[in-house]
């Protein structure tokens, strides 16, 4: 009962945050210099289109009224028309979302599997030469601009060795029928490899360092000593007790990392011409396609906030001290 209340409370709180972000976005796009209608109406639209949009977004009404119309439209998933594509922003964004999520989750899963294992290993080998050498290397990967890493990998593996394609999600002229057909094709996977590797190399540092320092703390706990006094095998002590406990905060950090990753995606998607939300945001801003930029930003913000919520709930789910009161 208590947990349910806490979960509902947290959800409401993040709902408020979302509302605040939406409001900030509204103000940013309305208060920008120039014609306030530019947020939705491109001068090249036909007169009927212009009038229809004026009515739909109440652009001739006072600002506060526009705000409520904006909120009402948002709730219905109405984000306006893209200037460049002449199609509803919501449709375009929903079509791009899977690409971004696939890239994000693939890279993060690789990063976390590697980071957790390597972090546990380094904690176990504390003070060894391997550990001494590894920590600065890991810190260096955190200091790299992700897009630069992407450029280097691209120059080597694509342009020099020719092992992987240079960008996009599929080779020219290929058609995989359905979306599922595309995502399971080897062609898609070879396009995915380099951007996913780039993001994974950048992201592995967080779980690695977190896992390592948690392991070092947990190894000092009484229950680990007790497990040894019980005569349990080294594997049982280190994996079932130490690692299992150290893993808890690392798992929750995964959801937070998804949020951060979406930001990194913006640049990496641009390097690899990966048709995702981040690249769309950049292109829309460059082309002054305001409705699309607004929509893409909003979608990213929603995922970030949602992931914060999931992180909280995941923690409650994984830690019996929270679940079983």
């Amino acid at each position: 009962m208590y947990q349910l209340k806490a979960a509902v409370g947290r959800t409401l709180q993040l709902g408020l945050v979302l509302w605040a972000v939406v409001t900030i976005l509204f103000l940013m796009f309305r208060l920008m210099p120039g014609n306030p209608m530019a947020a939705y109406i491109d001068p090249t639209f036909t007169e009927e289109q212009q009038l229809a949009l004026m009515a739909q977004f109440g652009l001739d009404k006072p600002l506060w009224e526009q705000y409520f119309i904006y909120l009402a439209n948002l709730v219905q998933g109405e984000l306006g028309q893209s200037f460049r594509y002449r199609e509803p922003v919501a449709e375009r964004i929903l079509a791009l979302l899977p690409n971004t999520l696939i890239l994000t989750f693939t890279s993060l899963i690789i990063a976390y599997v590697f980071g957790v294992l390597a972090g546990a290993y380094l904690a176990w080998r504390r003070g060894s030469a391997v550990e001494q050498a590894a920590i600065p290397v890991v810190l260096t990967t955190r200091a790299m601009p992700e897009f630069w890493l992407g450029m280097v990998l691209l120059a080597i593996f694509s342009f020099w060795l020719g092992w992987f394609p240079a960008g996009g999600t599929r080779s020219a002229g290929t058609d995989h029928g359905s979306l599922l057909g595309l995502y399971t094709s080897s062609d898609f996977l070879s396009h995915l490899a380099l951007p996913a590797l780039t993001l994974a190399i950048y992201s592995q540092g967080l779980p690695l360092l977190l896992m390592r320092s948690n392991m070092l703390d947990v190894m000092k706990e009484d229950f680990v000593t007790m497990a040894r006094i019980k005569g349990l095998s080294n594997w049982t002590v280190v994996v079932r007790h130490a690692a299992r406990n150290a893993l808890l905060p690392v798992m929750t950090s995964f959801a937070i990392a998804v949020g951060y990753q979406l930001q990194g995606n913006v640049v990496v998607e641009s390097v690899f011409s990966w048709p995702g939300l981040g690249r769309e945001l950049v292109n829309a801003v460059s082309a002054s396609d305001y409705p699309l930029a607004q929509g893409a930003f909003l979608m990213i913000a929603i995922v970030v906030i949602l992931m914060n919520l999931i992180a909280d709930l995941l923690y409650a789910l994984l830690d019996p001290r929270v679940t079983h009161v």
Binding site: V21, I24, M28, L139, M151, F159, L262, V267, S288
Partner: protein, 298 residues
């Protein structure tokens, strides 16, 4: 926070105590040396760089000095596709990097510390309000926010600093706040209050000196963040093309097919410079961590 740091009297000596350079950690020393080299390069950029970084150069045969490899015609790191000297661009790029890094770090540390201090010390509705603002700031995806901001503002390296000041105070603010809460619950703050010290006096004498090291730590991390963010923004083409930065160089290289031309000499050095400066910050803060939080050290 070590007990000795708290027990030591006097603001000035505490300041020096807090900023004492961690010379016993080889990584921290390496970080400081890197910083020193880059600061000197930035200051003497005009003397070090053989050419103006935006100047279009010609060979002795009066051809455009485009896409020259390192060493050719005396260009140390070669030239860009438009015939500009890469080495000179690298040297001048350090100026943007340090300018952005230092100002952004100052802003983030200053705003974050003030928010944390006010929030933690006064509590009540001020605290509630500021922490809800921090929640909102946590809900804003930072890099996309900078990009959208760039859409409305004139291209300038200051956009990054502005955006960081608007959003990234949240991390520092929260940490400082919890530190202030711990400090406030300690006896001597209570004692000072009972003795009739004013709030301002208590903050300045008892609390500010103790959170200074933390502000410093977060400020140093912000230097790296600022440089990385500026690089990303410039790379995406929202930077100021008249101001040479490492991010701009990477964008120029990427757009000029440097990858396909295998012109590593063009896009590898700016990346290395970014890595060096950002990781120097990490190494130094790692050294400070050992001093600031002895328990975290092994």
């Amino acid at each position: 926070m070590s007990e000795t740091a708290i027990a030591r009297p006097g603001l000035v000596s505490r300041l020096f105590g807090a900023l004492r350079l961690p010379t016993n950690d080889p990584f921290a020393v390496a970080g400081l040396v890197i910083y020193a080299v880059f600061v000197l390069t930035a200051i003497f950029a005009d003397q070090i760089a053989p050419y103006d970084p935006t100047e279009i150069l010609y060979t002795e045969e009066f051809d455009l000095a485009a896409d020259l490899r390192p060493g050719e015609q005396g260009f140390v790191l070669g030239t860009t596709s438009l015939g500009r000297d890469i080495f000179s661009q690298i040297v001048h790029g350090s100026r943007s990097a340090l300018l952005i890094g230092v100002t952004a770090a100052l802003m983030v540390a200053l705003i974050g510390s003030i928010v944390g201090l006010v929030s933690g010390y006064f509590g009540g509705w001020v605290d509630a309000l500021l922490m809800r603002l921090a929640d909102i700031a946590f809900g804003i995806p930072f890099l996309p926010f900078v990009i959208v901001l760039a859409a409305f503002l004139e291209p300038s390296i200051w956009n990054v600093v502005f955006a960081m000041a608007l959003v990234l105070w949240r991390d520092t603010g929260r940490v400082i706040r919890s530190q202030v809460l711990t400090l406030r619950s300690r006896g001597y703050v209570e004692a000072a209050r009972v003795a009739g010290s004013s709030n301002l006096r208590i903050i300045m004498r008892h609390i500010a000196p103790n959170i200074l090291p933390l502000s410093f730590l977060y400020g140093s991390i912000a230097i790296g963040w600022a440089i990385l963010t500026e690089a990303s923004i410039s790379f995406l083409g929202f930077g100021d093309p008249s101001q040479i930065s490492w991010g701009y160089m990477l964008q120029d290289a990427f757009a000029s097919q440097a990858l396909a031309k295998q012109a590593y000499y063009w896009f590898v050095p700016p990346g290395i410079c970014i890595i060096l400066v950002v990781s120097a910050g990490f190494f130094i803060t790692r050294g400070y961590e050992n001093i600031l939080f002895p328990k975290l050290g092994r």
